[in-house]
């Protein structure tokens, strides 16, 4: 039994009937229970994106509070204790609740669309991941308002965060927030990998995968190997604080530096978990708005993979000031500088694409061009702090604050806003406003540089990070005031974006399927896409199907429309392999997330919460897994009858 090419009369009526049936089968469940049970990757992805953007706004407000405090010397707007909480909350929010989840959301939304699938793999797991992320974020902010928000910095170093110097629950809040977000990221990574490996439309071989999907795939692998390190670090921290273990207690044979090693073995790859998807966005935007295939596809993919590998050999460059052996730090200096090679490959490929293409300066392209200026400046200071002697001079100063914001905002936030503008028609079916888009870009670009460029100078003049105020005669006044006024422009930029979104949703022009004349498959379906993503589904014949594929390619038929069925293809060549009944909507991922939340929050107060609190999530998981009559595969039961099919099902891959 195999897939065969046949000739069929496929009329418009037939297509309309099939689309109606698919719409019924894949319809969103109704009501509150339906909302909580939803397993559509587009809606889960959109929930990730919207929630992450809300946290971005909250993190931005916290940043604004810090800039108000630092605008003038000896300010008393925020006290030292609240300031500690505010900068910790800002960093934690931006890293764990905004940057990683927003990229994950884009990945969940677009990976299935870009590989031409009806849905993603393991959609219930993705739903569970979202609820965990949401619960973690709410938990963090409720704790903050109850005055138990974390206050030890976003990396929560021991011994400052250990039982001796951090009584109370603030450090526990941080450690458990990490658990929430890491669960969300890990399940997202598995979902993405399986979707890319097994859900590609026939013909979409690995070398035809869009660069954005490659970036999501590589990022997912990084999550799998990086997140366990922070899992170990935060668990050991909680154990030290809660049950008296001594992992980080020097007096009992432990070592605080062990925490730093574990944290940064995760923490450096974490930067690339944010940055690599953004690199994928850059390739997407530059290709679409240069109206030509991106130059150096293979080089771009190899650069992504190389960056991911190198990311695991860099962590000690965050620890140069610790006093580690010189031979070790030299290795990490060299490794850190090597990152410039894959980054250079990507940047030169993009420049070549722009150079040889027909550039359209739409707002998404402006954001992509902003990346060049800002990220390259951040990369330059990165080369500087990769060198131990320079790093020792500027460690823990505003120079590092400037560097990391240039890298992360330039390297991730600019491409992200470009991508949100680019995909806005696909999300909503409306075109975004061009004038306000251009205005928001320039406001953000000017505001960003006014805020963060002075920080380089402040750092070189010796202003340390994480101080709540400074004396008037340090010579830092003007530059701090400049930085704070830049923050006002950035806030204005975000307000303009919000106005643009509201206005476009209410009165934007109706978007066609492919308003930007881009080449990837998400533009081959309506805006917004139907719940089943595509029908009809022609096979794929090139890397840029919407630009190159002939209109008469065979279409895939025989995937059932009367149940949520998807076609599973082979890993390398994407040839049809078997059909798979994708899970129906279910409330149990939500219940599992809720009960897991209760267990995790309880564990801050008593270790027994882990023992007894594990029982409700276990029950919820069993209910999640338990077969429902509606999910029974009517083609293969009773199992005795299925034996003839066996030889086909277990034959060579």
């Amino acid at each position: 039994m195999s897939a065969t090419i046949v000739a069929r009369e496929i009329t418009a009526d037939h297509i309309a009937a099939e689309q109606q049936q698919l719409a019924r089968t894949w319809a969103q469940p109704r009501g509150l229970i339906g909302f909580l049970s939803d397993v559509d990757p587009k809606r889960i992805g959109m929930r990730f994106i919207v929630t992450a953007l809300v946290f971005f706004a909250l993190g931005g407000v916290l940043a604004g509070l810090m800039r108000i405090q630092l605008a003038v010397p000896e300010n008393h707007f925020l006290g030292p204790d609240l300031y500690n909480q505010v900068f910790t909350m800002h960093g934690t929010t931006m890293m764990f609740l905004f940057a990683v989840p927003v990229m994950e959301g884009l990945g969940l939304y677009f990976t299935p669309l870009m590989v031409g699938a009806r849905t993603m793999a393991l959609p219930r797991l993705a739903a569970f991941g979202y609820w965990m992320f949401l619960a973690g974020g709410i938990f963090l902010y409720v704790s903050f308002f109850l005055n138990i928000g974390p206050d030890n910095g976003w990396f929560s170093y021991v011994p400052l965060a250990g039982p001796e110097f951090a009584p109370g629950k603030r450090a526990d809040t941080w450690a458990q927030l990490i658990t929430f977000t890491e669960v969300a990221s890990l399940v997202g990574a598995i979902v993405t990998i399986v979707t890319v490996f097994k859900f590609r439309r026939p013909g979409m071989t690995l070398d035809r995968l869009p660069v954005f999907v490659w970036a999501q795939l590589v990022t997912s692998f990084m999550i799998i190997f990086a997140m366990p390190a922070v899992m170990v670090a935060s668990t050991a921290l909680i154990l030290d604080r809660l049950v008296g273990t001594h992992f980080f207690n020097q007096a009992q044979g432990g070592d605080p530096i062990l925490f730093q090693h574990l944290f940064w073995f995760f923490g450096h790859p974490e930067v690339y978990l944010i940055f690599l998807p953004a690199q994928g966005l850059m390739s997407t935007l530059i290709q679409a708005f240069s109206s030509r295939p991106v130059v150096g596809y293979v080089g771009l993919v190899v650069a992504l993979v190389a960056t991911a590998f190198m990311a695991f050999g860099l962590w000690v460059h965050h620890m140069f000031a610790v006093g580690l052996p010189a031979i070790g730090t030299s290795f990490f200096t060299a490794a850190s500088m090597m990152i410039a090679i894959p980054s250079g490959i990507q940047i030169f490929s993009w420049i070549a694409t722009i150079w040889s293409g027909r550039v359209r300066l739409e707002p998404p392209m402006l954001f992509a061009l902003g990346y060049f200026v800002i990220f390259i400046l951040g990369g330059m200071t990165g080369l500087m702090v990769a060198s131990v002697p320079l790093d020792l001079q500027v460690h823990d100063t505003y120079f590092v604050v400037a560097h990391l914001h240039y890298v992360l905002i330039g390297g991730a936030v600019f491409p992200l806003f470009g991508a949100l503008y680019y995909w806005f028609p696909k999300f909503t079916g409306r075109m975004p406003g061009r004038g306000l888009g251009v205005a928001s870009f320039w406001l953000l670009f000017a505001g960003f540089n006014l805020t963060f460029f002075p920080m380089h100078v402040l750092g070189l003049h010796g202003m340390p990070r994480r101080v709540y105020t400074y004396l008037p005669d340090m010579g830092w006044n003007t530059l701090n005031l400049a930085a704070s006024s830049g923050a006002v422009l950035m806030a204005l930029a975000v307000i303009v974006m919000i106005v643009n979104v509201i206005q476009s949703l209410r009165s934007g022009a109706v978007a066609p399927d492919n308003p930007w004349h881009a080449s990837t498959l998400e533009w081959a379906t309506s805006s917004p896409p139907p719940p089943y993503n595509f029908y009809p589904e022609p096979v794929i014949d090139s890397r840029d199907p919407l630009w190159n594929d002939p209109a008469d390619l065979p279409i895939v038929i025989g995937v059932r429309a009367d149940r949520r069925e998807v076609l599973i293809t082979r890993l390398l060549d994407a040839q049809p392999d078997h059909r798979y009944h994708s899970p129906d909507p279910s409330i149990w991922p939500f219940v599992t997330a809720l009960t897991t939340t209760a267990m995790l929050i309880g564990s801050i107060f008593t270790p027994w919460a882990v023992v007894w609190g594990s029982i409700p999530p276990a029950i919820a998981l069993i209910a999640w897994f338990w077969p429902r009559p509606s999910m029974l595969n009517d083609e293969t039961h009773p199992p005795e009858n299925a034996r003839p099919e066996l030889s086909a099902a277990t034959g060579p891959p």
Partner: protein, 198 residues
């Protein structure tokens, strides 16, 4: 007339690396394997910090730990037979070997409980005790998880709401169990042999 790629004759399930569950399981294995590797790295790191290892206490007694190792090694056989029966869609033998595997896992958990009593240290004695208890504890949670999985799968196999995908589940559970076994061997070496021989 239009060319069409008709996939209706393809099977509606598949085992092994063709199935999506196999890849998802492999992802879990990669995550947990990394966590184990990092815990072992932490053990080695902490060992370097002190002149004597284990610091101030006797190494863990070998009896129970070696018994649990023997149980997991023997349980490879029922696990392999469960996997094979599932992949042949043989309900009777799948039921039988699932129950046998479950009993092995249960015996293991009893021996593991006794193993905790023979470590000769507590988690709050010193950093050595902390890492030993954590290593053994985290491996135990994997085992308990697999015990529950196997029990639930056995219950499903006996209650009869069956289709071929449940056999895929049994096969992937057996695949995961191999990981739980294989990950135990380095942990055994670290907990029991390292304090004696390095």
């Amino acid at each position: 007339m239009r060319q069409a790629l008709d996939v209706s004759a393809l099977p509606s399930f598949a085992f092994g690396q063709r199935s999506i569950l196999w890849w998802a399981t492999l992802g879990m294995i990669a995550i947990e394997g990394t966590a184990f590797a990092l815990l072992i790295a932490a053990y080695i790191y902490l060992k370097w910090r002190v002149p004597h290892w284990p610091p101030g206490v006797a190494p863990p007694d070998l009896t129970w730990g070696t018994l649990t190792t023997a149980i997991v090694l023997i349980s490879v056989i029922p696990n392999a037979l469960t996997k094979r029966a599932a992949e042949q869609l043989d309900l009777a033998r799948t039921r039988l070997w699932l129950v046998v595997s479950f009993l092995f896992a249960l015996a293991f958990c009893v021996a593991r409980a006794l193993e905790f009593t023979a470590l000769n240290c507590w988690w709050d004695s010193n950093a050595y005790g902390s890492i030993v208890w954590t290593l053994l504890g985290i491996h135990t949670t994997h085992f308990v998880t697999d015990l529950i999985d196997t029990g639930v799968l056995a219950a499903i196999m006996f209650t009869g709401r069956l289709d071929a995908n449940r056999f895929v589940d049994v096969s992937e559970n057996a695949f995961y169990y191999y990981f739980v076994i294989v990950s135990w061997l380095p942990i055994y070496a670290v907990i029991y042999l390292a304090p004696r021989f390095i």
